[in-house]
Subunit: 614 residues, 2 copies
């Protein structure tokens, strides 16, 4: 495409951006108009992508980190013939694939954006896959706004990309000077961005983002630079091309005041169709064979930490399956992801202490077909909450594993205790939450979670716990285990993880006091085993949950939710961590929080005394 | 103190660090030993602090961002006579103030640390207070590890500190080369850190962290530099002084193998007492008068968005109270914090798109006695989850306000919808969660929350909603409002925020179908009004919750938790957002998620048909 046509294509993208926002009555046309020339040059000259075959493994990847510029993205799709004008005008309507911010309901969108500062970290994951795993020379292009450069997650990614020498990654920063409510910190000081990025080891090119020849040259340079990522830092004007809005405050996130006049000012509609370069022929992906994993086997009666069982099971899974990869946030000796690293160093990614990048890389890797397991302390996964939330919107399949759950960690104190993690992961749409109590159960759940959809969370424990199940026992997701039962049970103790062992001890004490109780191991916290809970409710009349977690959002809530369909509800009681823990030995912590065997037994007695025997 | 004594003091701090970890059987002596000389010089020559009067407003602030170096911090407290040797050796024991990671149970600790990358962002908040509000020349010293420089939150703070010209802030980076499980990315490349920090506008000094004269000079330089923050980047050796551990991998987070030999190698115990410089005389804090706020009044029957009521109420609160400050994450036009900014620009802090820094600055400000309100979209507050969690461990009193809650925002789509925020804030220890449905209620709750303890969260709505309460109505925290009731109610609809209005419409429909229902406005989601819920349960037999939030962790769980004390439980049903929303108009969204009036009415009918009339 000739340079004059590039500029015309830019105008076409602006016109279509104005049109869709006008039709929708909302959206972000001015944020689209600033980046239109950048997008035009990328599409017509540099992107290698087969829009007829979005699954082609050699396709470049394009991430609109500034997801609010969706009008521009959809205008691109129209320019390549992937979306027709009729569909284009369904923007933001009920049922349309063209949502306010892009999601993978569109086959050309790998990941959802709209929470700023996520595109680059996810792009790093894709570039890692391209360089180190797929060994396919696709390029990853991330279009970012200038405002979002304030997000710390961007700098985690900047550091990571440089450290991993991701020459296949290009960041395009659309420096349009204006954020949502006013000027950005650095306005049009391109060097402020370039200086920072260069200090982190990036190659940088500063460019007038409306000079298509200059932009073309900048992208050419970006592609040629090897061994390090490039940032093209482009000075642009928000609302470019329409005097009523160009470079003006107060014009963010709304249709143009007079769309018809604006379209005229932009030179009217155009009907340019772009032939995008095809990707180079791709080799068939290799190294992703799948055998049945030879999971580690633990001797019942022995003791092992579930985190250790996790590490060993993950390593075994990695041996059986070439598609499994692992990532960790510089605590792999604690989470035991180190077992995987030792056996499969080529499929292990050290993310250092950057939990947002950790989860984002996992999202990027799964978008390329890999099955990632990302681990850190459960407490520190809260750092990545927004990335987990957006992973769900991205329909991403990721495994996240949090170790050192609960007060049971002991002396390190509350800053290191995961006490909100079950609440956080349960509240994610479509998630699965697993919390094993022994080593064999852990191994089986690790294997099972790899094949699920959505965000899968596994919670592990620091200390050794007794192995109570045999290595061939089955643990379906959505199931539970009844560990103790009789026809005379007066109550059901529902526990998971650490508290299963406390519950069993409590049941012993209660039995010797003439109070038989049922004990349920609720290893699948979401989905929860409604049938078995109902059966226990019917048989025993009351349920008491015990969890090493705050009272909100965890096992107590999961059990209560099982009885929220209008049917009769049993009596319920919940034991959970209601205090602010301090340092103490693990057993002291469990006692201080009222979730040890003694506390459980006392609570059951109280509950049973209140209960009219059916 | 003479230079030779400084070096001796460093050795004393090492010896005490070794001793406490040995006594405890756990802890991080090697991470303490690397920073011992830095800490000795700071304490003896530069810190201005009255340990007898930790509330002295002129005291410097010292934050151990590397909270695992708590043995060093406590050894400092011993060296100044604040803690005696007997207490020192209670480290990590049940009941001891000397926790594994520092918390404000100690009067000299402003904020808890232990989740890395938080000390600097919180320090920025304190430095903002010092420079712009308190106008007291205290200095803020942050001791950071090198590993934690990978956290994005650090770079949010680096950018913010430079932008705000915080010459009163010094970051000391203890570059001991080794993280938990191995070398850091940059090992002893001090310039890698310095280059990055300089690119962000910081003054930097590189120094041998074991050369006390050089360190002294570096701190002197840091204090002299005006108008920008300084980083002292110090090359150190982990485990310095004991050959068995010095600069070696695998020695993180455990006592030394032979403490007695190590103490000998360090030259044995010393008994140096340090006279710390007193702070300069402080002016009495000014500008913190408190009058009764003239809250905005809204006409019942009119319509207003609760976010607008928030902004107006906050501005009014700011007029009445000199201690109220506001912060926002570059969306103040949307959250309506802009109303406060307009009236009180000197007490408004723009944090740009950096939600971790937003919440951290609030924590820093409250540590200096200010009452901060930090706002962003509810969805994006998930970005700051770990900071909210640690705020709770810090016993911090902060107000956090999330706008654009739920599917009710409409066309922008799921990336912008807060659908997990209630779960996140409920699960924080000691938190308060408020969710008003009208403008007058919002104003009253904004005023009330300012005086509460702990983390207070207010959820606001984008769209206008009917004003249903009078401006003088009272809304106690922990209360609720019964909006409709009769003696014949067949069910209770429990709603909050957006769904209150849907519930009232549903009740109209049901009434005309001969099914009278009770409607409760559960504006206080935590603490929840157990008494009124119990009364409704007794009177109507079944409760149906309706919320613009995922089913987990929100209003449904809050209501279920009210019935988790072993007493009889009513029938329960919950309506919540179980789908993955897309773009659509607000009313279409409510319908698609099954939480509009029509869906509520249908669900109540189903529930009532199942219920045996009492």
């Amino acid at each position: 495409m000739r340079d004059e046509e590039l500029a015309e294509l830019g105008q076409q993208l602006r016109v279509d951006s104005v049109r869709v926002a006008d039709a929708a009555g909302s959206g972000h046309p001015t944020s689209s108009m600033s980046a239109a020339d950048l997008a035009a040059v990328l599409l017509a000259r540099h992107l290698r992508y087969d829009f007829q075959d979005p699954d082609n493994p050699a396709n470049d990847r394009l991430i609109f980190s500034k997801g609010h510029a969706s009008p521009l993205l959809y205008a691109l799709y129209k320019a390549v013939g992937a979306v027709d004008d009729e569909e284009l005008l369904t923007f933001r309507r009920l049922g349309s694939r063209l949502e306010g911010h892009p999601t993978p309901r569109l086959p050309w969108v790998d990941v959802a954006t709209g929470s700023l500062g996520q595109g680059l970290p996810v792009g790093v994951g894709m570039a890692l896959a391209g360089k180190y795993l797929d060994q396919v020379p696709y390029r990853v292009w991330v279009l970012s706004g200038d405002s979002e450069m304030a997000e710390g997650s961007v700098w985690e990614a900047v550091e990571h990309a440089s450290y991993e020498k991701l020459g296949n990654l290009t960041l395009i920063v659309d420096v349009n000077r204006l954020g949502q409510r006013g000027p950005t910190r650095h306005q049009h000081d391109l060097d402020a961005y370039a200086r920072r990025l260069r200090a982190f080891g990036w190659h940088t090119v500063e460019v007038d983002g409306h000079d298509v020849e200059a932009v073309d040259k900048a992208f050419t340079e970006a592609v040629q630079v090897e061994g390090r990522p490039t940032a093209v830092i482009a000075a642009t004007r928000k609302g470019r091309g329409v005097a009523a809005v160009e470079d003006q405050e107060g014009k963010h996130g709304k249709p143009l005041p007079d769309a018809e006049a604006a379209i005229q000012e932009l030179g009217g509609p155009r009907f340019i169709q772009v032939d995008v370069q095809a990707p180079p022929p791709a080799r068939a992906p290799s190294g992703r064979d799948q055998d049945r994993a030879e999971l580690p086997r633990f001797e019942p009666g022995s003791a092992e930490a579930t985190r250790t069982a996790y590490g060993r099971a993950l390593a075994a899974l990695g041996s059986a399956r070439g598609d499994v990869v692992a990532l960790d946030g510089e605590v792999s000796d604690s989470t035991r992801a180190a077992y995987f690293k030792k056996e499969h160093p080529d499929r292990f990614f050290e993310c250092y202490i950057a939990e947002q990048q950790l989860v984002a890389a996992a999202v990027g890797l799964q978008a390329r077909g890999w099955v990632p397991f990302a681990s850190s302390f459960a407490a520190f996964l809260t750092r990545a909450h927004d990335f987990v939330r957006m992973a769900s919107v991205s329909r991403a399949g990721i495994n996240v594993v949090g170790s050192h759950a609960g007060v049971a960690i002991g002396e390190d104190g509350p800053s290191q205790m995961g006490l909100e993690d079950l609440a956080m992961f349960r509240a994610v749409h479509g998630s699965t939450v697993l919390y094993p109590c022994d080593a064999n159960q852990t191994a089986r759940l690790v294997s099972a979670m790899a094949d699920l959809k959505g965000v899968r969370y596994l919670r592990t424990t620091r200390a050794e716990t007794p192995v109570i199940y045999g290595p061939d026992e089955d643990f379906p997701v959505g199931g539970s285990k009844v560990l103790l039962r009789s026809d005379d049970d007066r109550a059901t103790i529902v526990a998971a993880g650490t508290t299963v062992h406390e519950a069993l001890r409590a049941a012993d004490v209660l039995a010797s006091d003439g109070i038989p109780v049922r004990v349920m191991d609720l290893y699948s916290v979401k989905p929860v085993d409604v049938d078995t809970l109902n059966e226990a409710a019917g048989a025993t009349g009351c349920l008491i949950t015990v969890e090493d977690h705050h009272p909100e959002g965890g096992i107590g809530d999961a059990v209560a939710e099982a009885f929220s369909d209008g049917r009769p509800v049993p009596r319920l009681a919940r034991l959970a961590v209601r205090n602010m823990p301090a340092s103490a030995a693990p057993e002291e912590q469990l006692h201080a929080s009222g979730i040890d065997a003694e506390s459980i037994a006392a609570a059951v007695k109280l509950l049973v005394e209140q209960t009219v025997v059916p």
